[in-house]
Symmetry: C2
Subunit: 360 residues, 2 copies
DNA sequence: TGTAAAGACCGTAACGGTACAGAACCATTT
DNA sequence: AAATGGTTCTGTACCGTTACGGTCTTTACA
């Protein structure tokens, strides 16, 4: 496991210059085939493993890899459908470009940004971290191109995302058209601190996760415009993004306000949990309770969830493409992908309004 | 995005040595708090982003990351349950060690090994690649510690795995005990070339994927010992690891040999496909046809599959631990994890033998 | 035969840091 | 007054490579 030989020692052994040995590996056309053969053979004999990648990176200023920063523990990324799909898209772009993908271990608990500083990469992709995350700050300080995804726009970096506010506005209008006025909302974590429970207006507006803030803002604006008093709408937050969270959050809202006719969840995972809780309570969806999600994951499709579909794989791929596309351009660039309202079977007119609504 | 300042220019600006600036970042106790404050403030003023990670890696000979080599396209890793679980385990170990995880883009189609050479990592984990894979060879040439998983033992590197042959022997004996003598086998790819169809004895024995070879060998040995003529056992291979492959492979075997009483699949994914195909043909499992898998993925559990459970997450974690554990030891080390025969509801006595078997 | 072009190889100067040994300074101790 | 020890800072020697701008030799062609 030692590194016995270097390019220099090889050159000395062969009686040629270091440049020539380097060329044997990187520019075969720059030396005679015969000499190249000798170089490679001697390399084999001395156990020289070829040019050291780190030294090469230092000299060429290219690492051949992009760093990925996630808000969660590394291992979490491999459990979350949504994150996985994004990663798959990003990986596709990396493959095309022949670039490696370095997953940076950014423990959200500790504020240890050393891992960001140590990452030898040509660029970063930052996926859905809170806007006050110290790891994000550390990335932004690094003098490499960066693409953020599902983040607010920043002056200095490219961005990929959807128009969360617009997308959920369509959903909200759909529910309003159906006649819903008494609603509850289940959302994902809004900040780095855990707050499993009802969310104050302040916290909603100060949310550090762009995506959640935008969705709540879209809901608030749309329902307010329709005459719903948003301050009276129960909004429950869950730190962990699991179906279990969706269940308990739905329970919390239904306990406090059994009169609501629709439960709007800001993710499909949460919505699937809400469905489970509704079933447990003997509420028929959608007849007794309308439930909606957001994301358009396959499981939601199977469950017939009314939701908003977003192209997650495309987001990953677009992020990679932005990073690898080094054409002239004026930064920052923004790619906003299209979303689609998916009308499933979990939303209908509120109970008791069937006739009134469609009547004369 | 330029890198305007370096440690040297900072030092010049401040009128101190480069060492002192370096210490301000890496050894705060080596200089007075006052000077350190000045250094960091000047750094901010000049836009110095802190020591360059690549240069640091060159000097310290530490990259702070491990490379991961997979047999598949990068993006595939994010789609396969089994690979994901392994990755999750590996990621856990990486987190604990504060190391990054670099996914090396090793396209199995092209023989382009450059990505392996360019990877600035402190070690490699190689997961289930064929033993003649050029990327594997390239990794072995690199002077860094390496752990292989689901591979045959190699002289120079550590290994993590299970005893595939022993594990499937237990399964085979279970089926023999139930009375099965006429069986068919569905296996995953055995080499780098695509061969979707029946597998010759030669190809079975020359398989380049250790795991598959060991499992086939275990089956051959066990059934032969019980008097079954292995040369007459239909073995069908599928290149793609999908349930669709399982379906078509099962069909291929059942078409050729409708008389078999058990279909042994070397993975749960394939077995789940086989179940689908059996259902399509109106065969009741296990009454008309016994189907078994291997791996113990959650979906198999849900389907009640009779299978062998292996600790995939643990494999990943163990691989990481081996890599990070730098204690004195004599290489190569081997970690062999335990497996467990899971008796589900998809295997029973062969049709027509019910009485004979349990009778007097 | 002269001259340009091409081919093969080389020397030097970075790339941006950290390790290590030691120097300068000051306050205590002997 | 000399020795001791701790703190703070410095100088030099690398880490292993590639970029760049040469030189020298050979070949091609008029």
């Amino acid at each position: 496991m030692r590194r016995p030989a270097t390019l220099a020692s090889l050159a000395a052994e062969l009686g040629v210059s270091r440049t020539t040995v380097s060329n044997a590996y990187n520019r075969p056309d720059q030396l005679s085939p015969e000499l190249r053969r000798r170089v490679l053979e001697t390399a084999r004999r001395l156990g020289y493993p070829g040019p050291d990648p780190v030294a090469r990176s230092l000299r060429t200023r290219k690492a051949g890899a992009v760093g990925l920063l996630l808000t969660e523990n590394l291992s979490y990324a491999f459990r979350d459908t949504h994150a996985l799909t994004f990663l798959e898209g990003l990986a596709l772009a990396c493959e095309d470009a022949g670039q490696g993908l370095l997953m940076v271990p950014a423990n959200p608990e500790r504020e240890d940004v050393a891992a960001v500083h140590r990452a030898g990469v040509d660029g970063f992709v930052v996926y859905s971290v809170p806007d006050d995350d110290p790891h994000l700050a550390a990335v932004l300080e690094r003098p490499v191109p960066t693409v953020v995804c599902d983040q607010p726009e920043l002056d200095t970096v490219d961005r990929v995302g959807i128009d969360d506010q617009l997308a959920i506005t369509h959903l909200a209008r759909h529910l309003l058209d159906l006649g819903h006025r008494r609603i509850g909302v289940v959302c994902m974590r809004l900040a780095r601190d855990r707050n499993d429970g009802f969310v104050s207006l302040d916290r909603q507006q100060a949310a550090h996760f762009h995506v959640q803030r935008a969705r709540l803002a879209g809901l608030a604006a749309t329902f307010s415009a329709a005459g719903v008093d948003w301050t009276q709408v129960p909004v429950v937050e869950r730190f962990d993004h699991t179906t279990a969270s969706g269940e308990s959050a739905a329970a919390q809202i239904l306990d406090r306000d059994p009169g609501i006719t629709a439960l709007i969840c800001t993710s499909d995972i949460l919505a699937l949990g809400a469905l489970t809780e509704a079933r447990r309570r003997g509420l028929r969806v959608p007849h007794d309770l309308t439930v909606t999600g957001f994301d358009g994951i396959p499981e939601a499709d199977r469950a017939g969830l009314t939701t908003v579909r977003q192209p997650v794989l495309e987001k990953g791929r677009a992020a990679g493409k932005l990073l690898f596309d080094t054409h002239e351009h004026s930064r920052p660039r923004t790619v906003t992908l299209a979303t689609e309202l998916v009308v499933g079977t979990t939303a209908t007119v509120p109970r008791g309004q069937d006739d009134r609504w469609f009547g004369p």
